[in-house]
Assembly symmetry: none
Homo-oligomer: 209 residues x 4
DNA sequence: AATGAATGAGAATTCATTCAT
DNA sequence: TATGAATGAATTCTCATTCAT
């Protein structure tokens, strides 16, 4: 009786382990980690409750396993595809990619962010695998821009975070606060506005479009 | 440094109800809402477990009661104290107040934000009592600035959110991610940088300090 | 601080003790003994919860006190008022009185009967104070009738119980089963029919009206 | 003496669900529904407390499940087996069956009757599954007897209830009041007497044995 | 006498986890 | 491997009862 084969194998999308992982993600999203029951996850995954524990030692381990997909390379690669010509185009692509990425995984991020409060290992992984990998290309872009004299001299760590913060606040608005019924923002418009403000804010010369 | 900013009365700090509320806040912060047990709250509050339910019908109600201190007026007032001369000074005050306010209540916000996902009433109250009240003065400031021709024409709803997003991201960095051991930011420096970028971003004329 | 003055005194209808007793009876009727809470009884009685325990040591004692009104004499007297001329008239009066008495106190009887299962003292009191006192006059009537040669020779204990059983079943139908929406019986008709059957059943000579 | 009269399957007498049901019945009988604890039921059933809730969602459902054995058909069938020759024999069989049936299930009936006060669904089921099914054959017997000119014209609904009332009162005497130490009745004698009175009471012609 | 805040021993119910099949 | 019945510790909430005022 092989005890927990680990959580990484069973890469095939249809394998039991993947089914469970997928189901867990959905239930976690719906109910939160604590309120999600293994019974419900099993039901959604189409497996017996006991089967979950053949793949994951504990419910907590199941949560951690959800971080696995975020491999350093992938997240990095995702953000390096930005190949715009102008700075504006580049930041545009950063933001669009960021938005896409965050929206795609927001259910997960929310849970992981919340639970990482109680599980330091989770926190560290999340920072390394997701957050830093996201910031990195923008920080590099800014540094390069400053070297080239295009951007004012700012702290790239600060500026990069501020950049993402400007957009993330809108994701939080609709995803966390679900406040779209208060004001609904047009994604395109928000991106334009944010980039406008931001670029004017860091460009060296008086901003001209 | 004003203590208990934005908080209500606490008429008799030692009253049982207040003790319970305070204990709940601490335990919630430590464990999260679900993982916090009424037994532990009672222990910390120094009352019997049953006593909790003399003051709050359910554990959930105890959570909701934590929102009460955030009265619309008070939160509003808090942000209207900004009486700087220049725009820079005004935004400075906004940000400093915001930072103070958020940091003071971050433990609460985190819980309320997370739980509001599962309790719509909570969500709505939080948005109305805290979020909108925070945004309002900045939106007004921006609108006025645009009218007066100081600021470019931007959507104040977007710009105000972007403004707070630029800073909030740093609060999240240290409070949610607890990532100060990765990079530790200097609060003063961050505020300066953020305002610099932001003001240049929205000022009409080429930015001059 | 006078400890429980007992439950008998305070005879005045408006006294605290009586208010409590009355409230208890109503709540017990509504919810049953176990589901009734002292808090609710206190509220209905218009007294503080603690006050109940100045009059009755325990909730159980409060239940027992409800039996007090049924004094041997009263119940006896109630059934001795039957002063009909003919046997038919006499039984008629017995039944009418019985019905009146049972209906008036059914809420109490139901509770006492049920709870007497778990409290032998209650059971004994109930039998002596209510049941036997009710049967007695009919048993006597039957015995006399047999002596006088009007009735066949039957066991008066059995016949008296059978007599009340014939009617009580209808009270149970509407009060316990609340089955009036299945069939609704006319009280007058039932009494007539029951007496008809019963008198024919015990009269010595072939029955003639 | 047929065992489990009117009871359903019990497919595997030892199955956990049946054990629990049986234990519940016993504890309910002993303590009443409210005072019975799931802990005690579990102990008596020889299962863990949680196991109860794998079989019955709530304690209340456990109560309801006790009604299931009383299938309309079976209860009906039970009372249709009366195949006596004379009317006296038939009523005799009715009563004997009734007595057997009631005594066998009295513990249950008492609880169900009491609790049906607070649970309308229970009440309705009890009336339909047990009470009406019990009355029906006697009502039919009476109707037929009237048609055939054997019985006087009486309301069969009333007469049938009165009939069972005459006997049920004795069951109540020993089972509810547990008053056998006051007077102990001989079952055989009671039945004879009751039938005697009843038949004389409804027969058309002056009664002759 | 009257109060009602405080108590804390239970009660029903949930659920992650185990393990025999 | 997969199962799912069984477990029982843990949890929220109730309520009769006490007692200081």
């Amino acid at each position: 009786m092989p005890k927990k084969t680990g959580m990484k194998k069973t890469p095939a999308g249809g394998s039991k382990g993947q089914q469970i992982l997928q189901a867990a993600r959905e239930i976690f999203k719906e109910k939160g980690f604590h309120a999600a029951t293994t019974a419900e996850i099993a039901r959604k995954a189409g497996v017996a409750e006991g089967t979950i524990f053949n793949y994951f030692r504990t419910k907590k381990e199941l949560l951690f396993a959800l971080l696995e997909p975020f491999n350093a390379e992938e997240v990095g690669a995702f953000f390096c595809q930005v190949a715009g010509e102008t700075d504006r185009e580049k930041l545009h692509l950063f933001l669009e990619n960021h938005l896409l990425f965050v929206k795609e995984n927001f259910d997960l991020f929310r849970i992981l962010l919340y639970e990482s409060q109680f599980h330091p290992e989770l926190r560290e992984q999340f920072i390394n695998k997701v957050v830093l990998k996201t910031l990195e290309p923008v920080e590099k872009h800014l540094s390069k821009g400053m070297e080239e004299g295009v951007y004012r001299h700012v702290d790239p760590s600060i500026a990069a975070r501020a950049f993402f913060g400007m957009l993330t606040v809108f994701v939080a608005w609709s995803e966390v606060l679900q406040a779209d019924d208060f004001i609904q923002f047009d994604e395109r418009e928000v991106i334009e506005e944010v980039i406008d403000i931001y670029l004017r804010g860091i460009k060296k010369t008086p901003f001209k479009r």
